[in-house]
Amino acid sequence: MNIFPGSKPVTSGNYLPHAEFPWLMAVALVAIVPHFPHLPYWIITVTLSILLYFFLRWQQGYHATSVWIKVPVALCVAAAIAIDFSYNFQFDKASIAALTFCICIKLLELKGRRDVMVIVALGYFLLLTHYFHSQDFLTGIWLFVSALVVTSALLHLYDDPARPALKTLKTAFIMLLQAIPLALVLYLLFPRVDGPLWGIQRMQSSQTGLSGTMRPGQISKLVESNEIAFRVQFQDHIPPRRQLYWRGPVLSNYDGRSWTSNDYRRQEPSIEARGAPARYSIILEPHNRPWLLPLEMPISFSGIPNAYFTSSGVLQSQQPITNRTRMEFVSHPEYRMDRGELSRFARRNNLQLPDGRNRRSLAFAEQLWAENPTPEQMAERLLRFFRDEPFYYTLDPPLLGANAVDDFIFNSRQGFCEHYASAFVVLMRAAGVPTRAVTGYLGGEVNPVDRVLTVRQSAAHAWAEFWTVENGWTRVDPTAVIPPERIAPEILNQQNDNSPELTDIALDALNWLQRARYYWQALDNHWSQWVLDYTPERQRELLSRLGISDLKKISLFFAAVTILFLILVALFILRKQRKSIEPAWAVWLSACKKLNRQGIETPSWETPLALVERLQTTYPNRLELNAALSRLARLVYAVRYENMPVPIRILKQARKQLPGAGSNA
């Protein structure tokens, strides 16, 4: 008989209130929806159908779905996942697909609280896997909100079902906030893993970036991507846009179709700095290639232990960049490189042309060289040629034939930067001037909020360098001479975003949307700089600043502290429990349990003596039990109510004398 009607919610047992269902649905949705862009269509369809089916089932009074439906569906989906993902061993993607399916099908077999715990645990785990796709600030916020939903679902399970959802959310929010200090401590002090977490690298290996070769159409494809290539923070002023050439791979080898690099020699180029230096740091997004993309031309750098220059002045690291990497540079936008003398290898390499191709261009170059017999004049003449003739700068140029440069110069006259750089280098080489193509990035966008320069893939560019005895390698950007009316509007728009002086965007002059965009970018930038870029090196640096040099020792120390803390908490809880149940009463309660096992009820409101009397009347034949229980009850009374010093040992002995379940005679 429940004499407190409605005063206590039912929170015990395995009973699962239907009020929990909307929460479970929400958990499934927040856990799987962000995966949809990365999952095949069929699995999205399957999961959404299951969710819809669950919703309908729940509206009509829920019953767990029959095994005869669940098992075949599960087997089919497992087989489909195995087939769909097996061709290139995408184990990580396959497991995410499988988990997405699991959390949905679990909704069809809810029988009790246990099943809810499974869904909540799966939900938390799936949240973690969102980081495989993206780690930016927005994902962080989304995960916080998702964790809020999953935690609320868990809270709601143990709460009064009638409690409003908003209150549950509020409690969960407070709990998550309370967890933040611990998360911070773990984040700062837990040993960092060198390299990406399993899965993340492969999931993100589709990153775009300079490929190290140059073919018609390759860079223009890259330009369509809005992904961030790297961010730059200048220490003082930002150089003007016309100087912001970020140097990537230098390509000297031409086979008539694509440009490749054949320069593997480590050799520091001789750089003669002129003008003021620019000091800056670059946070490079992982691109799976070794080059580091500094501003032309770097004279010193730090942050990458094993970086080196190739002989053509490309700064590379020994391993491909697979993590977000931060480096410090000092560059001189005005410089002279490799003055005076060029090695035989370099000369031959930078005059090489494929045999028997582009004959018309070669003849044309010889003709121009006759009129302009110095390299500078020749370069000047070529630029004038591109400017004056109807050359167009466009993102989708027509396809070119076997004699690509001939086709471009005399027929199509439409191209992207790689066409111009390629044509320029071929013509210069035909005239006998050592010339090479350089790929990299041009410009960038400055955020007026934090003055961080963001360079996106859309800023990918190609230009050329020719060599003279007096000046060394001189940069020439043939696309820069195309007048605006012959530039495709989409390219022009992109460039218009950046006025020639990059720094003069006044925040006040922008509308609120643009301003908000800049603030958001600044926030995202801080996120990647301070949260994502917390590498093992930075951790070591922080720890050494705290006076801790050995990470292994500190790990052990923290493990010890944590274990000690947990033991203390456990002891505290145990002691509290012991205080609340005094030993004599604990003996009595355990004796009651012993009786319960024999089918004798011991209601908590019944006094021990009343119980003894009741048993004596209901089981008059069980003399042994009655005698032992009566003795124990008297002892318990003596200790608990009469303040008599009876040793607990005697009580325990009396309890032992209670006949067990076996002796029902």
């Binding site: 008989m1 407190f4 005063s7 908590s604 409101w605 006094t607 021990p608 009343a610 009374y637 109510y641």
Partner: protein, 304 residues
Amino acid sequence: MASPLKNLIDQAETVIFGKRLEITLALACFLAKGHLLIEDLPGLGKTTLARALARLSGLSFSRVQCTSDLLPADVLGISVYERERGEFRFLPGPIFSQVLLADEINRATPKTQSALLEAMEELQVTSDGETRALPQPFFVIATQNPAHQIGVFPLPESQLDRFSLRLTLGYPNAGAERALLTADSSQARLDHLEAMLSTEEIIRHQEASQTVFVAPALLDYIQAVLTASRQNALFKHGLSPRAGLSMLAIARAIAYLDGRKAVLPDDIQAIMPSVACHRLRLRQNDEPARPEDIEAMLRGVPIP
């Protein structure tokens, strides 16, 4: 120590047959310095019980038969002018005795009822600006007919709370009934009784009974029972703190009468119907709570 009290109960049982538990409770109420309300139909031995207790404990006894024309002065006393001496003289009313039987208290008017109950609570009477202490010990036994008879003024809850204990004697069982029929008249039996205690001894027992040990766990239990009575949807109101004090005092007295030095949870459960029934009213029909309601409430409170 307790054995003279046991003898006293034995003796009382020779007058009121088969009501040992009620006699014990009544005596416990006396030891706990409480007052007793007996609710019953007429002729079930309420008066006999009161007289027996008074006689056996050697205390002065008086009786007031309450009627609707009974005035406060009839109970408390009155000042009369004595011409010979030229001054007022206070003639104490029946309340100036150690055991007062207020028969059928619900037939008195509320004015008289409250005068009586105030005196009972404060152990003094104020009349004509003069305060007179009542004799010690002072024990009121009020009897009441069940309220649904005509021409009664049922005691309000605030007054009921002043009675520590309420008893119903009920009909005697067959054996007791037979004994009643064959024995001498009750008056004759009362005359046989002799005082077994002096006033000093009574006061000593009263004090000694209240030193009985109560384990902290049982104080918790009393508190839990009080809380349960307040939270239980069965009842209109919960038990008052005064009810808790009565519970404690009477449980001690019961243990003392049983010759024990400590209160047991069984004591508290045993006295609960007598302590709580008259103080609680059912939400359902506004009737006084029945012993089974109290038992239902106790089933929600685990023994600590």
